[in-house]
Assembly symmetry: C2
Homo-oligomer: 336 residues x 2
Amino acid sequence: MTTIKDIAKAAGVSVTTVSRALNGYSDVNEKTRKKIIEISKELNYSPNILARGLVMNKSKTIGLLVSGFNKESIKDNFTFEVLSGINQYAAETDYDLVLFNTTSTKQREKTYAQLCRERRVDGVILQGIKTDDPYLQEVVESNIPCVLIDIPIQTENVGFVTTDNIAGAKSAVRYLIELGHKNIAMVNGHDLAFVSQERLEGYKRALSEAGLSFRKELVINGAFEEGKSEEVTHKLLNDYPEVTAVFCASDLMALGSIKAAGKSGRKVPESLSVIGYDDILLSSYVSPSLTTIAQNKQQLGFHAAQQLIEMLEKESAPAHIILETELKIRQSTAGI
Amino acid sequence: MTTIKDIAKAAGVSVTTVSRALNGYSDVNEKTRKKIIEISKELNYSPNILARGLVMNKSKTIGLLVSGFNKESIKDNFTFEVLSGINQYAAETDYDLVLFNTTSTKQREKTYAQLCRERRVDGVILQGIKTDDPYLQEVVESNIPCVLIDIPIQTENVGFVTTDNIAGAKSAVRYLIELGHKNIAMVNGHDLAFVSQERLEGYKRALSEAGLSFRKELVINGAFEEGKSEEVTHKLLNDYPEVTAVFCASDLMALGSIKAAGKSGRKVPESLSVIGYDDILLSSYVSPSLTTIAQNKQQLGFHAAQQLIEMLEKESAPAHIILETELKIRQSTAGI
DNA sequence: CTGAAAGCGCTAACAT
DNA sequence: ATGTTAGCGCTTTCAG
């Protein structure tokens, strides 16, 4: 493996000059630079990024802390799409991505912050972390530049990007109301997800603006899981037969609700309207296809990467970015 | 950021002792070790992995060269599942994953081998690379330990893992034959994919074993894309109305074929049987659900990671691992 | 415009 | 069982 030392020797100059030439400094004779570059090509030189990182105290890598790397998350490939967006932006830069994972096993008892420090990542993107996760606190306090996805924390070195969940949920419920529904239930995720809190708020507001009263017994938690949602929806439809529409905080849960409808003798959309959230791939393929609030997951990742790298490169302040959502009307909803 | 130097000072020993204590060497007094460990915790020490990598000449990272990180690949989340499997294995080790990407832009004109050398990855896993990709050659020749997914190259430092594509394709076609089909077309991917060559071979063998003749005009290429497959299948059904069954080399293409069937006035499975390959998530959700050859993509990744890390740690020789496939009978196929 | 020298944090002979 | 020393490959003052 050739080093700048080898090049220096071959070119008859010092390592300093080689370093400067290769890094595009101006104070080096063009002739020497040309020569050095030529030699470095001949010798098939690649800089040792570890050595550079050691002395410069930065690694040109950004760490990815995603919790959704398991079988569960393959269904809604939220994580993957976010990743794809991050990658898309990062590809245009000279940053590489390192994947940390949360599967806490015996051998891997290190905390996130430790992981980040060890690897000397320049910054971190967090995704899929619950609001009460101790790691979250840790990372936020660690003063590593950091961008959170769907968690609204902003500090001196932490920014975030999310979608407008209140508006999204509101437009979903408003649409159901426009269709004539009056008894609208909600299948939420869980209380520890920021997006759940927001979507609940949107649900409430839409009801209130339409002069409908909020009944907390019509809001149930489906844990963001298809099966759990099926279970709780089934019970709900039994207990409150007046319900004619369900707003689900995720498409996966909407799929579960639709199954539950079948078990309860309801037909979607004729005797029950179901609207989801996310617009995962499955939504347009299932039958009936799912009316849903679409959020652009790739954009989420893209903007997160962009923001982080701008914090790193331009020392810009952490920001909060709120992306818009879009109502996609398909077949799972109908007028009453 | 605390270093072993700080710890050494605090403990009144030399850095060597600290290094040895922390790395679990036996030749250090238990008392001193305890003290050192305690102090290192107090000081919230994390080793600088770059420094360690520099001197040890290894980085404890493995590089991921995947080509499927774009919008296309979100549909069949093959890439994601493989990644998930890799991650699953890696999580149990102290290796981290770094994601390289292929989006060749101006700024990123480095070759894979360069990327790997720069980052000093200890090994690489390649996925989604075409057989004629110059990078493939480069990496194989670079003598970096490497595991290929679905490309059967085995050298001194290159192993691979794949599924038994011949057997898989054969069982798909054999199943169609058992259903009574005689005129069976095949929508293949493209010639530059190893799996396509294998699956074609399986198709031929199944025909031959059943005494059916191979007609090369019934084999068309769908480029592994849904839209392309729809297009070519449409034409095929038009030109050869005697065809009653189609074997597709991927589920995504099977989805396209089913659409084409609709356009051609064929009903699946009543007047056209379609069988896919992969068993992507969509397959069980679409209607009619897709009969297909399932391959375990997570296993693919898992075994790749396992093999690579064993090459790295135990210096075991590169191997080739062939995983089994499974016929999943659903609704898109029927007897004639 | 170029070079000498120091040092980033760590490990590894080689003493002792 | 512990310390001394050298060095991994690179960047960066500081002097010419």
